[in-house]
Amino acid sequence: MSRFSRTDRSAMVEWWRTIDQPTLICILGLAIFGVFVSVATGSASEARGLGVAAQYFVRHAIFTGFAIAALLLVSMRSVREVRTLGIILFVGALGAMALTLLIGPEVNGATRWLRFGPLSVQPAEFLKPAFVVLVAWTLSQGNRVPGFPGYSLALFILLAPLFLLLLQPDVGQSVLLTAVWGALLFAAGLPFVWTVGLAVAAGVMLGAAYVIFPHVTDRINAYLMGTEGGLTQVDFALRAMRNGGLFGTGPGEGTVKVHVPDAHTDFAFAVMGEELGLWTCIAVAVIFLVIVTRGIIRSMGERDHFVQLAAAGLFLLVGMQAFINMGVNVGLLPAKGMTLPFISYGGSSLVATGITLGFALALTRRRAGSRSVRGLANAGAH
């Protein structure tokens, strides 16, 4: 990189200089690793009669390419452009989700997909980053402009997609959206009493989901009490991981993976554990931790309140999703349909993750006066 001088003002160079390079490298490394893992998870799904392994690998690689392209393109946008894109994406995804309920095909008892010829798109995946950007903007406006109904508007922005998600039904995504929303409210300075109130409300809603949705009831029961015969998805995921041990059975040598349903999506982490060993699981978890904590810490230092909230929210979104997925895979949390960013197969999930982290990288790029305190002090010198 030394061949670019600091005075070179071309867009690419400017972008490279201002972007958070360690985070970018972590993200790219994770995405490329995901392509390798898809060889193992895809062959597991092939053994279960679901498609062809090579096809999973090729498609995963192509979608990862799209995801990286989306990541890079989005990360070049300015803060203002990110906000605009977020609003457009939010409205589009919300409309698509409503459309899904009307014309989407029912897969596994839920309508989550929209078909465009050979492509199936899951609008909810694209809604998530846009949702964070929009809520962050609303809350920051509330703190910036007196009288601006920040919290009320944020509540409305939550309820609209939540309503559509619960109609699908997709309890996992609903929980994720609500959790990120709550974290953003907390970060935006929600009074302590309200924070406690919201936590209680969240508990009540989870209880309601337990009562209303039979599959939620069963999964939580299975989590709390264990299952007869030990043949649920989670049991097999755990067996797969145990079978792998620290260093794994070796690529293609896994034996339990063929019993794991959704081996290439929700339970890719477990299959990866069986074939490549638990140390890769720890490595992936550490990379996620680095991306998320580094992202949040960098966001903390942002001077722009909107950037602060939006960037932290986006990193938090990825972190929570990864944590829930991995937690389910290792039996730490009740089973919940959620993908592991960049590792799980699925075009929508991959590209949406690219957009999410692209937003986050765009927001945390160094700009004149963007860093607080020190940034403020250096502003004049710039």
């Binding site: 009669g49 007196p146 649920t232 063929v258 349903p261 230092g301 942002e302 938090l316 290792v330 730490l332």
Partner: protein, 568 residues
């Protein structure tokens, strides 16, 4: 709220927008720090859990493979005396589902039918849709390969249960003898119940006394006779007279031990050990043997049997009236009730009862099979009972009771405790002396005479020196008295007469006479031929050779002619 808003707006007008944003972002900074800490804690928990899984691997190596959940109890194999398998445990996989985990019953049913096309789709869908239940069973026996195929289709909610099932390779052939164990792993009938604890405790196969080849022949011939004479039921016992080992035991109709159904069904009644009958004239040898043993009569002692004989103001009759006086040998050969009753009168009530007690006829037999029946002993054993019991009425017995007691009259005089478990060589044989050797020798001769010159001629299997006795008992009427048209016809046989090895007892419940028997449904007409055929078939298996070599040749010649003459 309003006040706060106004205050904030006032502040804003005085201090400017930047101040509020700065304050908000400073607060957000510390709160994001809290969130970041939460993230760190959560991921740490994850790391601990992953590490824990790694350590668990080293501690518990069994976790490396999918371990079968075998819950049901192990039962030892049962084999016949030659080691042929009668009952064994097999691993069975049951296909089940939790309908609450099933997303789409129609899709799941279709995918299951790709592997198990014999299942009915509508019924599958119905069961898979029943969300009121936590477990529905879809198929009771699934092979490991089918299980793999279904598993690999990744159908949520579909579960497999591994269990032990009891398999009876001989199916109906030994349904009453072996009995059955149910899915709870416990025996519920026959030997499976009678020896339940032993079977659960044993590691090696348990050898029963039964000889599968004998059992097949017995069942075959009894089924044929039952069909030929339209009998309601049949029972048969083959007993080793010296060891008391039961070599065969059949009760018809029988049932499939794999799906026994309601134990109250008449098919479940074990007519050989679990039901008692007025057996009739087959009991007479016991009376004759006792009189001989007490030196009250000799085979040549003559009795007048011509007139109706009155005991306690009841008239005793014979089937055919015999006008001239006959000796004891003829009394047995012609099966005279009048003659036997007169002999019983010589014996007397007390001695008769004492003998029957020593022959085990007043108690339940101490056998390993569950459900052994207790004889119906008359409460008032008077002179009339002494007379009727002497020829087999008034004391109901199981076929096995009779076989074991009759064995004592021809095996040298011992009552040997019958058993369903194979006796090891050198094991002490529980037995007690009842008759003298001389009595036994005489009885062999007298019973052989029944077959050569009396009512038992139809049982004479060529070359095997069959001795025996017919029995034809009228069934009691529900209102009292006996029913001339409802008979229990039977035949007890032992061979070879010179040194009997095996005793065969068979009975038909309510047989109908046909043209070949001249309309007679008596034991001599219906059961004796079947017993003769049984002896012919089982003799080689119990180690009895035809007595004379040329007899054996004749037998072969007779069979050859049979083969030539019959179209097949």
């Amino acid at each position: 709220m309003k006040r706060t808003a106004r205050r904030v707006r006032d502040d804003w007008t005085t201090r400017g927008a930047g101040y509020f944003e700065l304050r908000a972002s400073q607060r957000a900074r510390s709160r994001l720090g809290v969130l970041c800490t939460f993230v760190f804690i959560a991921f740490s928990a994850l790391g601990v859990r992953i590490t824990d899984l790694t350590i668990a691997v080293q501690a518990d190596d069994a976790g490396r493979t999918v371990v079968a959940d075998t819950a049901t109890r192990h039962r030892a194999e049962l084999v016949d005396r030659n080691g042929r398998l009668l009952a064994q445990n097999v691993d069975n996989i049951v296909l089940a589902a939790n309908p609450r985990d099933v997303w789409d019953p129609v899709v799941v049913a279709q995918r299951i039918r790709e592997v198990l096309p014999e299942l009915d789709e509508a019924s599958l869908v119905r069961r898979l849709s029943d969300r009121t239940r936590e477990v529905v069973y879809l198929a009771w026996r699934v092979s490991p390969h089918e299980r793999f195929e279904i598993h690999s289709r990744g159908l949520p909610g579909v579960i497999f249960r591994e269990e032990q099932r009891r398999l009876y390779p001989q199916s109906n052939t030994l349904s009453h003898l072996v009995g059955y164990a149910r899915d709870d792993g416990e025996g519920h009938a026959g030997i499976e119940l009678g020896l339940n604890e032993e079977i659960l405790a044993a590691r090696d196969p348990i050898a029963l006394s039964v000889d599968l080849r004998v059992q097949h022949a017995l069942r075959d011939e009894l089924s044929a006779a039952m069909e030929e004479f339209s009998a309601q039921a049949a029972a048969g016992v083959v007993l080793n007279v010296n060891t008391g080992e039961v070599l065969g035991m059949v009760s018809l109709p029988d049932f499939d031990p794999h799906s026994p159904g309601d134990p109250g069904l008449t098919t479940h009644l074990n007519r050989a050990t679990g039901a008692t009958y007025d057996l009739g004239s087959v009991v007479k040898p016991l009376t004759i043997a006792q009189a001989l043993d007490l030196n009250l009569v000799s085979p040549e002692t003559v009795f007048d049997v011509s007139g109706p004989y009155e005991v306690a103001s009841h008239e005793i009759r014979d089937f055919h009236r015999i006008w001239e006086p006959i000796d004891v040998r003829e009394i047995l050969a012609e099966s005279s009730n009048i003659g036997t009753a007169q002999i019983a009168e010589l014996i007397g009530r007390e001695r008769q009862r004492a003998l029957f007690d020593r022959l085990g006829l007043l108690e339940r037999l101490p056998v390993e099979i569950a459900g052994a029946a207790r004889p119906l002993v008359p409460s008032n054993w008077g002179s009339l009972e002494t007379a009727t019991i002497s020829f087999g009425h008034g004391l109901t017995l199981t076929p096995l009771h009779l076989a074991a007691a009759t064995a004592a009259t021809i095996n040298g005089g011992y009552w040997v405790e019958p058993t369903f478990v194979m006796r090891a060589p050198g094991d002490p044989i529980p037995r007690r002396r009842v008759f003298s050797q001389a009595t036994s020798d005489t009885m062999r001769d007298l019973l052989r005479y029944v077959v050569t010159d009396g009512t038992g001629g139809n049982a004479d299997a060529l070359g095997y020196e069959v001795a025996g006795k017919t029995g034809t008992a009228e069934k009691p009427r529900p209102g009292g008295g006996y029913d001339r048209n409802r008979l229990v016809s039977s035949f007890i046989a032992m061979f070879p007469a010179s040194e009997p090895e095996v005793i065969v007892f068979a009975l038909l419940d309510e047989p109908r006479g046909n043209a070949s028997t001249g309309g007679y449904a008596t034991g001599g007409a219906t059961v004796a031929p079947a017993v003769g055929r049984i002896i012919e078939r089982i003799a080689p298996f119990v180690g009895v050779m035809p007595t004379e070599p040329d007899m054996g040749l004749q037998l072969l010649a007779a069979r050859a002619i049979d083969v030539t003459l019959s179209p097949q």
